[in-house]
Symmetry: C2
Subunit: 239 residues, 2 copies
DNA sequence: AGTCAATGGACTGGACGTAGACCAATAGAC
DNA sequence: GTCTATTGGTCTACGTCCAGTCCATTGACT
């Protein structure tokens, strides 16, 4: 009785070699706004331990990101590896090509994103938050509202991740970060228009308000509408 | 601005060595009922390719499972590696010990499970299902209803996975399989009582009915109640 | 009875990743 | 000015994992 489910359970044990996965992870931290321009990454020894890779491998990954223009390293005490103030622009891969490459996985990613993000909003609103968590949420919201067009994607991601964080479930946060990275390339292919951005900001505020007010039903519903907007935009653009 | 989110993004790139991860994956297939006793696993060459590990590594993993009593291999054409009819009983680790070990990750896993399973039920009810998918769901439901106490956990998992499958999102299915494995050890520590089992079966039927009827709201709500029951049982038992 | 295709079983050379030690530079503390 | 703790930079010996190849066994088909 072997059915389709084995596609899920017999999927690859590892996506690539440690080097590639490490690069991907560091890019995730930068592109999702977990570390912002000017920030210092943790020291190599500590970061290597946390990522569970050797320092050599981590350094190769950092070297690759240095060459790509994402980070810069300085030696000596109080040195470290710093995120560049000017991040490289994502290459605007032609949407046609993206659509062809990712069509298969697009529904997959969108479905998972929907489940994770609406669930996170609801779960966040269910918990009683600490003052630090409330501040953190509002800070991320304010940053996103103040974002320019070039910074918007990153700060938007940061806000959505912050919502996942305040659920108190690290696994949920990780899963959301992963699926968001999968959709990033596609989202970068869509031109960002100010009206859409304004509308997003309104919805963000409504979601955060509902979470802070402890209203799970509204938080979920509002997030659902927010995601539907992006999804419709995405599908329309790729048709 | 490095905050708590880096715990999620700077988490280990790989959980262990390929051997361990492969063993874990095969155990997942068996314990979640994706392959049932008597089934033949895919040929080593194919399975190694799908798991993205070398055949040597896969064979070591299979060897470990053979020694543990889960599978048996036969050579020659029409041979292969088969799941044993009599699976080893899970060792009943004392709940106290489990509670201590997993207390940190328990809320994490329960939160993620809640989000994924309620989301999956809703998403499944949103899609229009093929006849094969409807049959598959009902078959899994019937199997679970007919399950004995010893088989129940496995067939229950199989049913929940089937719901994830019919969302059409492999990533969602994988994520649910992973979180379920994390909770498995704990669930095995709880004695299974017939009344609880009967109640679960009723809820299962209600969830599947809602999915087949295309009623997302009811599917989510019913699944939520179902999960709440298990969660309450779990927490009460671990106190 | 013989054939043969598919499968598990075993071996080897090379590439990759790791652990650990050591070097070099830097900026604050004194 | 000197010292020193902390950080990135470099090297080496070792273990793991892998791709590829060939062998051994089996049972359905002719």
């Amino acid at each position: 009785m072997v059915v389709q489910a084995d596609d899920a359970v017999f999927r690859p044990v590892r996506a690539g070699n440690p080097f590639e996965e490490t690069v991907e992870r560091l890019l995730q931290a930068i592109k999702l706004g977990v570390v912002v321009p000017g920030d210092r990454l943790p020291p190599e020894r500590e970061l290597a331990t946390r990522l569970n890779v050797s320092r050599v491998t981590l350094r190769e990954a950092i070297h690759a990101l240095t060459e790509a223009g994402y980070v810069e390293s300085r030696r000596g005490r109080y040195g470290g590896t710093f995120v560049n103030e000017q991040l490289p622009k994502p290459r605007r891969t032609p949407a046609k090509r993206l659509a062809r490459d990712l069509a298969a996985g697009l529904d997959d990613a969108l479905t998972l994103r929907f489940v994770l993000e609406t669930g996170a909003a609801e779960a966040a609103a269910t918990r009683t938050l600490t003052d630090a968590e409330r501040d953190h949420l509002q800070r991320c919201l304010a940053d996103t509202n103040a974002a320019t067009l070039t910074d918007y994607r990153r700060l938007d991601s940061r806000l959505h991740l912050a919502i996942a964080e305040v659920t108190g479930s690290p696994s949920l946060t990780s899963a959301m970060a992963d699926v968001r990275m999968r959709l990033n390339e596609l989202l970068d292919a869509i031109p960002l228009l100010q009206p859409n951005l304004d509308h997003s900001n309104e919805q963000h505020r409504a979601v955060v308000d509902a979470i802070l007010a402890g209203d799970p039903q509204t938080a979920r519903q509002t997030m659902q509408e927010h995601l539907a907007g992006t999804e419709a935009l995405l599908r329309a653009f790729l048709e």
